[in-house]
């Protein structure tokens, strides 16, 4: 079996070294290597689809043999899907997320490092490696926000890092508890899934609470979402793309792991569902008070992740796999929206929807990509989000009857508001702003790639869903 993950990691690592070594050509080199990694990831997906099963785990070396930690990377159906998404989004971010061409060297290196950590996280077979990649990813993004952000980035970056380190510290604590309280001391996820039921009840509750809070911060959802809008407001386009597109999936993926690992978590699923529903609806109201287009998009991330949390909380295969698919879809959709927002900012030097006018006449591809992004966000059929959403709601309705589907109201609210934004500022041609600088080919290509994958995974979901063994 071809070691897909090893090849991806190796390519990215080589790309990282090359990008560091060649400051002037860093973007080209980085794009090249991450495109290669993307191709490997996609071919892993295709080969799994053809053979009907995910590739075997790839064991590399014993990391800390005293604790039985081996550096083993493996695909599960969910992690395969997320890996493909992460590799595509990261490639587009590297290739087209930076029309200003500012600090390309730093940006490319950090993005490649982040991509390594994201793919490593999704593919890690034990929680220790998971945690390591988690923290590396978080720190990398901290630097992305801080080094490449806009004027008020200091506060946003500190806020981000404190929230995220808070989450990761809880995560570390919970991982240690799991290790010492499972009968076979192990960090290995499959071993934990097998043995977690023998953890004492009260410890399970503690572990669950810790992991839940940690992942809730990262996802994020109300009431721990406050870091995200600020981080997005200040982050660069590339930072926003991978922040919403990939980083928030860490939490979602972790939350899925929690529900797979800890039997006790289904006891709380109704409360989690209620919280997630509240979060989705509350945030969709909050976003109506915003004027900054990036902030608005950032808030939709919270809404969508809350809906994903509803799916996970249903604790049945439909909801959980639906959540996984919705994460895949959301990664493309949200990074498309951020890419458009970045291009619009580049073209008009304006992000406030009250004064942003006439994008459609200055930059047609941006405008229609934005509309497509809205379609993908609200789950119009034949976009990937639709598949995820319908699976989520089937799971939620199965688990909680119709109460599970209350969060669907949030889709109406954000949909209505996003179309309002589109028609009020993007598509309106009254008092249009002068074009400062047209976007280049790479932006258009990036948008096209993302749109292509949005529809590919929307029209051919069976490539991924056939691997889900419900």
């Amino acid at each position: 079996m071809f070691p897909f993950i090893g090849a991806i990691m190796l390519l990215l690592f080589a790309g990282l070294l090359a990008a560091i070594a060649l400051p002037r050509r860093s973007r080209a080199v980085g794009s090249l290597f991450s495109a290669a990694a993307m191709l490997v990831a996609v071919s892993a997906l295709v080969s799994s689809f053809l053979s009907g099963a995910v590739p075997a785990p790839e064991q590399y070396f014993n990391y800390i043999s005293q604790f039985g930690i081996s550096f083993t990377l493996q695909f599960t159906p969910i992690s395969l899907a997320l890996t493909v998404m992460a590799s595509i989004v990261a490639f587009v971010a590297i290739y087209s997320g930076n029309p200003e061409k500012s600090s390309e060297h730093t940006a490319t290196s950090l993005l490649l490092l982040f991509e390594i950590s994201a793919i490593g996280l999704f593919c890690s077979s034990n929680l220790f490696i998971f945690f390591i990649f988690w923290d590396v990813g978080v720190i990398t993004l901290f630097f992305m926000i801080y080094l490449l952000g806009s004027a008020n980035r200091r506060r946003a970056a500190i806020k981000f890092i404190i929230y995220e380190i808070f989450a990761s510290s809880l995560l570390l604590f919970a991982i240690l508890l799991i290790y010492f309280y499972t009968p076979i001391h192990s960090f290995d996820i499959s071993t934990i899934i097998a043995g977690a039921s023998s953890i004492p009840q009260h410890v399970q509750i503690l572990i669950f609470a810790l992991l839940f809070i940690a992942f809730l911060i990262n996802m994020p959802a109300f009431p721990l979402h406050l870091w995200l809008p600020d981080a997005h407001t200040e982050a660069s386009t590339q930072g926003s793309m991978v922040l919403s597109g990939i980083l928030t999936k860490f939490g979602g993926y972790g939350m899925i792991l929690v529900f797979q690992m800890l039997p006790i978590s289904s006891t709380y699923s109704i409360y989690i569902m209620a919280l997630a529903t509240l979060s989705a609806i509350y945030i969709s109201f909050v976003l109506m008070s915003e004027h900054d287009i990036k902030r608005i998009i950032a808030y939709t991330t919270i809404v969508e992740m809350s809906i994903i949390l509803v799916g996970i909380s249903s604790a049945n295969p439909y909801g959980i796999y639906g959540a996984a698919y919705a994460m895949l879809a959301h990664g493309f959709a949200i990074s498309l929206l951020f890419l458009v927002a970045g291009s619009v900012k580049h073209t008009y030097q304006e992000r406030d929807i009250r004064s942003l006018r006439g994008v459609v006449s200055g930059s047609v591809s941006s405008a229609y990509s934005f509309i497509t992004g809205i379609f993908a966000t609200t789950g119009v059929p034949l976009t990937a989000t639709f598949v995820g959403d319908i699976m989520i709601f089937i799971g939620a309705v199965t688990a909680f009857s119709v109460y599970g589907a209350v969060s669907i109201i949030a889709i109406i609210l954000i949909g209505a508001f996003l179309y309002y934004v589109a028609n009020k500022s993007i598509l309106s041609t009254k008092e249009k702003l002068p074009v400062q600088e047209y976007i280049g080919f790479s932006q258009k290509a990036g948008m096209a790639i993302l749109i292509f994958f949005i529809f590919l995974f929307g029209m051919l979901p069976f490539i991924v869903t056939n691997l889900f063994n419900v």
Partner: protein, 463 residues
């Protein structure tokens, strides 16, 4: 192979004599070369012994075993780094070198000690010369030196009193000579001596409230001495604490565990919370160093083999992180960059230095894949496995608090653009790179160090 023991003793004597000679010939370079070479030889010899897993005693007073050799290796290596740092910084390098040789002897003696008196002597040999090493830098440095001197006087009185109290039960004053029997075990005198030992050593190990001198002295002393205090003296104290608690007074482990737990908790909170409002980087690192001592104490409080292992691992980790950090602070100090505000734009003046300092700080927070993370991971593991879940939780909370002040420094370094580049001296550069390699490499592949530490802790507990 007793030869190794003799070799170490001989090398220590050689170092002292060469330094005395250095005071007369006053050739800095030769002196640096000589002392560095001897330290390298010490490190090599101890590594050799560690590899051979020897276990015997030399002259009845010094022990050669994996535990002692591991710390001889650590101390000779870290002292070598500090020696390199001090070369440029010391106004009177030969005098420094003489005092420094005493510190080396003290540190190694503590690592290899077989008797309580040797331990106390060793600790004093590391602390008192340090006070004088501060003073020789000039008038401005009298105050911190005197503070250190007074406080060490208090602590040594405690230690001596503790030795006196234990003497009736262990006339040989040997670590292994004291045989616990149920009748004596409950004796209040032994407990009092335990208490005084902990108090006396905590002075140097920087556990609150015995550590209140630290911010002033760390800030006031030249940064190379601060690095010595934080990177070596503190480690020496912890090694002494391990030896006394886990060999001599192991049967009192329920009691000392509670005491150390209390000290660990208040030390972590004190260090981290006060560090939040510090504005001068060196003082900030003084508080950070205090909080790190609290983390190390978690492992001792766990009072298990894993606990000892994790504390020992963290001693290694912290030594490299803090010496690397203080090396950069030292370099910046000599360029008149002290406060967090003055750190602005460091990344644009010297990006590699900023990157290295960032790595050290991330490692101090406990971010993977650096050595500090593995250390904290082991420490929290030991607490949880010893059923001290709450202690691990407090450790975790403190890591979160600590993020803020480290992030403040990082953010300051990477904000703004300063045009004038800063160039780093060779010797400091070497130290920083060695520390960086250690921090990253051990973080990425901690297996060998963990197994070394594990063997060492076996010998310690078995003593």
């Amino acid at each position: 192979m007793p030869d190794i023991g003799y070799a170490i003793v001989a090398l220590m004597s050689l170092l002292v004599f060469s330094s005395i000679g250095g005071v007369f010939h006053r050739k800095k370079t030769i002196q640096l070369a000589a002392s560095s070479l001897i330290l390298v030889a010490l490190a090599a010899v101890s590594a050799c012994a560690l590899y051979l897993q020897d276990s015997y005693s030399v002259l009845g007073a010094l022990l050669i075993n994996p535990f002692s050799m591991l710390f001889v290796l650590l101390f000779s290596f870290t002292l070598l780094l500090i020696n390199l740092l001090s070369y440029d910084r010391s106004s009177d390098y030969p005098s420094f070198s003489l005092l420094f040789s005493f510190v080396v002897v003290g540190a190694l003696v503590v690592a290899m000690a077989n008797s309580i008196v040797t331990i106390v002597l060793g600790i004093e040999l590391t602390v008192l010369p340090t006070a004088f090493m501060i003073i020789i830098n000039g008038k401005n440095f009298v105050e911190p030196a005197v503070k250190l001197f007074i406080m060490s006087a208090v602590s040594v009185s405690m230690l001596v009193f503790a030795v006196i109290l234990i003497y009736p039960y262990d006339p040989a004053l040997s670590l292994m000579g004291y045989i616990a029997n149920p009748g004596i075990a409950g004796s209040y005198l032994v407990m009092l001596s335990l208490l005084l030992f902990i108090a006396g050593i905590s002075f140097d190990a920087a556990l609150f409230p015995f550590n209140m001198w630290i911010p002033d002295v760390y800030q006031g002393a030249p940064a190379n001495i601060t690095a010595l205090l934080s990177g070596v003296n503190k480690k020496v104290a912890f090694v002494a604490m391990l030896e006394i608690l886990f060999v001599l007074l192991l049967h009192l482990s329920p009691i000392f565990s509670v005491m150390i737990q209390a000290l660990a908790v208040i030390t972590m909170f004190f260090g981290n919370i006060v560090a939040l409002v510090q504005n001068e980087v060196k003082r900030l690192f003084a508080y950070s160093s205090i909080s790190q001592a609290g983390y190390i104490a978690i492992g001792i409080a766990a009072a298990s083999q894993l606990g000892v292992e994790s504390s020992m691992f963290y001693l290694f980790a912290h030594a490299f992180m803090i010496i690397g950090a203080f090396a950069i602070i030292l370099w910046l100090e000599s360029n008149n960059v002290r406060s967090i505000q003055e750190y602005r734009g460091l990344a644009s003046r010297n990006r590699w230095a900023a990157l290295c300092l960032t790595v050290f700080m991330l490692s101090l927070i406990g971010i993977p894949p650096f050595i500090g993370f593995i250390g904290k991971f082991l420490l929290f593991s030991s607490a949880i496995s010893a059923n001290l879940v709450w202690l691990a939780a407090i450790g975790v909370i403190n890591s979160i608090i600590s993020v803020y002040y480290y992030a403040k420094v990082i953010i300051s370094m990477y904000s703004g653009i300063e045009k004038t580049p800063l160039k780093m001296g060779t010797s400091i550069g070497i130290v920083v790179i060695i520390c960086l390699i250690a921090v990253v490499a051990i973080g990425l592949y901690p297996g060998p160090l963990i197994s070394a530490v594990s063997t060492a802790s076996n010998t310690l507990i078995a003593m």
